[in-house]
């Protein structure tokens, strides 16, 4: 079966449109990133410190009642989220709301036991993180992202050419920013799993870009006469069906995680889904056009000198 026959789409020619789209994504991503570093986004307690609990009740429980019960027992700043399936309640308590680590969880248990005596519950999971460790994690994460980007740039610059290295890096950063943008806009929680998803997608998006670059390099060696833009377009068209097929299989796998993987990795799989989509887009519409831009500029400089 063939999804596409031989295509001849002018991808590079559409770069003005794609650059506008990508700039918007990038700006949103940067805003999200700034908000995250300021702590103004929906930070997971991995980074901000605090307590999160998941309770499973015997009978359905109204969020408003739960909130009142907690307020009554002195827990004011609390974030509640209901999981319909199985009468579950997710409770997130700000680090400033309770006392030391260990106290908030107890307070929640006491308040629910006394307020809802006829609705017994079990604690399915508790996570309590002190503020000092949140800082450490945030620092470690930044270092990890930086190291991994650096490693990738070095590898691409070594395998290809510096201009390709820049193209690949910009595309990778673009994809990471897109994920930040989506999570920030939808007010999804930024936690360690999300960062893991971002790094995974950085690797995936790069794989995608590398495949396109490999073909461009091959065609550059074969045919030195054609205009840069044509060679790039031709190469992207040649690998287009591979790009689509691979993205489809990864997308199918990630979608199955998203739909059936359970609430613990729900947001993680969402991040993967978003990443697969933008990763595919960026390898075609961001990475290659940037390299063309850089190549053309270099050529013009050479021409000017001669």
């Amino acid at each position: 079966m063939h999804l596409l026959g031989k295509t001849n789409i002018d991808f590079i020619g559409k770069r003005n449109i794609s650059f506008v789209i990508s700039s918007i994504i990038a700006v949103l991503g940067i805003i999200g990133l700034i908000q995250i570093t300021r702590g103004a986004a929906n930070m997971g307690i991995d980074f901000s410190g605090g307590t999160s609990m998941q309770l499973k009740f015997a009978k359905p429980i109204a969020m408003a009642d739960a909130r009142t019960a907690l307020h009554k027992h002195g827990i004011a700043r609390v974030d509640l989220q209901e999981i319909k399936e199985g009468n579950k309640l997710l409770i997130k308590i700000d680090k400033n709301a309770g006392a030391a680590v260990g106290k908030s969880a107890d307070a929640v248990k006491t308040s629910f036991t006394s307020e809802f005596a006829d609705n017994p519950f079990v604690v399915e999971s508790t996570t309590e993180i002190g503020p000092s460790i949140g800082d450490k994690l945030r620092k470690d994460t930044l270092v990890a992202v930086a190291i991994s980007l650096l490693g990738i740039i070095l590898y691409i610059a070594w395998r290809f050419d510096f201009k390709f290295g820049i193209g690949a890096t910009v595309a990778t950063i673009h994809d990471c920013l897109a994920m930040f943008a989506v999570f920030y806009l939808f007010n999804k929680e930024i936690n360690l799993l999300f960062i893991t998803a971002v790094l995974t997608i950085a690797g995936y998006s790069l794989t995608d870009t590398v495949v396109v670059f490999d073909r461009i390099r091959e065609n550059l060696h074969k045919n030195l006469k054609g205009a840069m833009q044509n060679i790039f377009n031709e190469s992207i068209n040649e690998v287009l069906s591979r790009t689509i097929v691979t993205s489809t299989t990864v997308f199918l796998a990630a979608a199955s995680l998203f739909l059936f993987g359970g609430e613990v990795i729900h947001d993680f799989s969402l991040a993967l889904l978003v990443g697969v989509l933008v990763g595919t887009y960026s390898s075609v519409f961001v990475a290659s056009p940037i390299v063309v831009l850089l190549e053309n500029r270099a050529l013009a400089k050479q021409g000017g000198k001669a």
């Binding site: 079966m1 998941q54 499973k56 030391a100 680590v101 260990g102 079990v122 604690v123 399915e124 999971s125 508790t126 996570t127 309590e128 993180i129 002190g130 000092s132 460790i133 470690d140 994460t141 990890a144 190291i147 991994s148 490693g151 990738i152 395998r159 360690l192 799993l193 893991t196 790094l199 995974t200 950085a202 690797g203 995936y204 794989t207 590398v210 495949v211 490999d214 073909r215 040649e238 069906s241 591979r242 097929v245 691979t246 489809t248 299989t249 997308f251 199918l252 796998a253 990630a254 199955s256 995680l257 739909l259 059936f260 993987g261 359970g262 613990v264 990795i265 993680f268 799989s269 993967l272």
Partner: protein, 529 residues
Amino acid sequence: MPKGIGWRIGLIGIFVLLSFLYLTPTLVSKLPSWWSVLPKDKIHLGLDLQGGTHLVLEVDTQKAVEGTLDIVATDLEDTLTGKNLHFKRISRTGSDAVTVVLYEKGTADAVQKLLKDKYPTYEQSPLHDEGGFVALSLRVNEKDAQDRKDKAVQQALETIRNRIDQFGVSEPIIQREGINHIVVQLPGIKDPQRAIELIGRTARLEFKMVREDIPPSAVTIPDDAEIMKEKSVDAATGAVSEVPYVLQKKSLITGDLLTDAQVRIDSQFNQPYVAIDFNALGAKLFDQVTAANVGKRFAIVLDNNIYSAPVIRERISGGSAQISGNFTEKTASDLAIVLRAGALPAPVKIIQNVTVGPSLGQDSINKGLMAGLIGVVLVVVFMAIYYKLSGMVANIGMVLNVIYLMGALAAMGATLTLPGIAAIVLLIGMSVDSNVLIFERIREELALGKSPKAALDAGYDKAFLTIMDSHITTLITAAVLFQFGTGPVKGFAVSLSLGVIINLFTSLIGTKVTFDLFLHKGTVKNMSI
């Protein structure tokens, strides 16, 4: 058969065999008796899958240094008193020094000399005037303080290990992390709260005399006394009552002189109590103290709370005593454990506590496996439709991938976490990528009019470099994730990097050999791709 197919098939077969060998303990519920020399370890499940508690403790190492200085101060008091050198006050000042205040210069000179001999590593300040008296201070040097801190973390680690061993948790992980952090993992624990209390307790036991001459309501309390409270909970109503006492600050006997602690049941009231045994020195001190103070009250203090303050009825020799209080069997046995395991050299603070209940863990496994299965089916169906028979070859490669990966995880004793399962599902999608790259090349070559055999070889050749490049870039991110990640994230990185390496093998050797088997004669006219 064409050249080189034999060893490749052999290799694939051996790897499959090995994978199943390592996976057997995980898949079979009871191993036969003859299995003894073969691998017995199951795939380790992360705490997020089997339930359990992950704690990060921070040791307050500064307190350990202060504790050492307090001991130095007490020791100095005794020495100076023993030598008839009169002093006004000896106490710890700040976090790193002990100050001695004396009445006159003459004694000060003698003390200076004595200190130099007794504590040669400490820095002595010159004599100075303090409110008309002569004072000098003894400062602990930076290196000694650092050593003390380091030792404190080491001791805390040992003590916590002892406590957990006695509490009874199978396969706990207790390790040091960084300068003053200790990571404790308790898989499958049923009563995490109790374990956390047990681990976090400093358990400093002291015996102090009660100063009955000063009422607890007194406005001023002498320097060498302090107020502490005895808490008791009424078993029937649950009401907490507190009785304050004035105690002598100096402790007469401390918990490090114990050799054993056991829970016993009082036959008269059917109440549990903790029986303690002293070592030779402790027994001697206890004998002396009780002999000298018959009729007075003696407080048993644990972590600055009074457990009980009984009146000494008679001299107690023989080196055993008992701590009674409002115990349940659980609290009594926990107290016995902490007393046996010894006190923490410094207080610890829990800075991270992740507890997952067993039901959630099981739920996660089920959902993860279900998502994996559906993912596999979707990809298999898609590949079979899109690439027909060749797609099925890629699917065989993918299944091999999953088997090898599970086998490798079992063989390496790696830990499977929920994100790890996610990584495997994701790899299912990514593992067919190498084959897609090859197939697209083959299609191009076929379109140029090459024979299936020639197209196949050209396809593998041309895709090779691209495949290497794409795998290495993924490996770079996986390596970084492994380096910085903890717990579940590390599990993700392990699955991802193993999967990438394995995928290189299956796509370049596994699927190629299948094609070679069918196409080696060069007589196949049409390729199903």
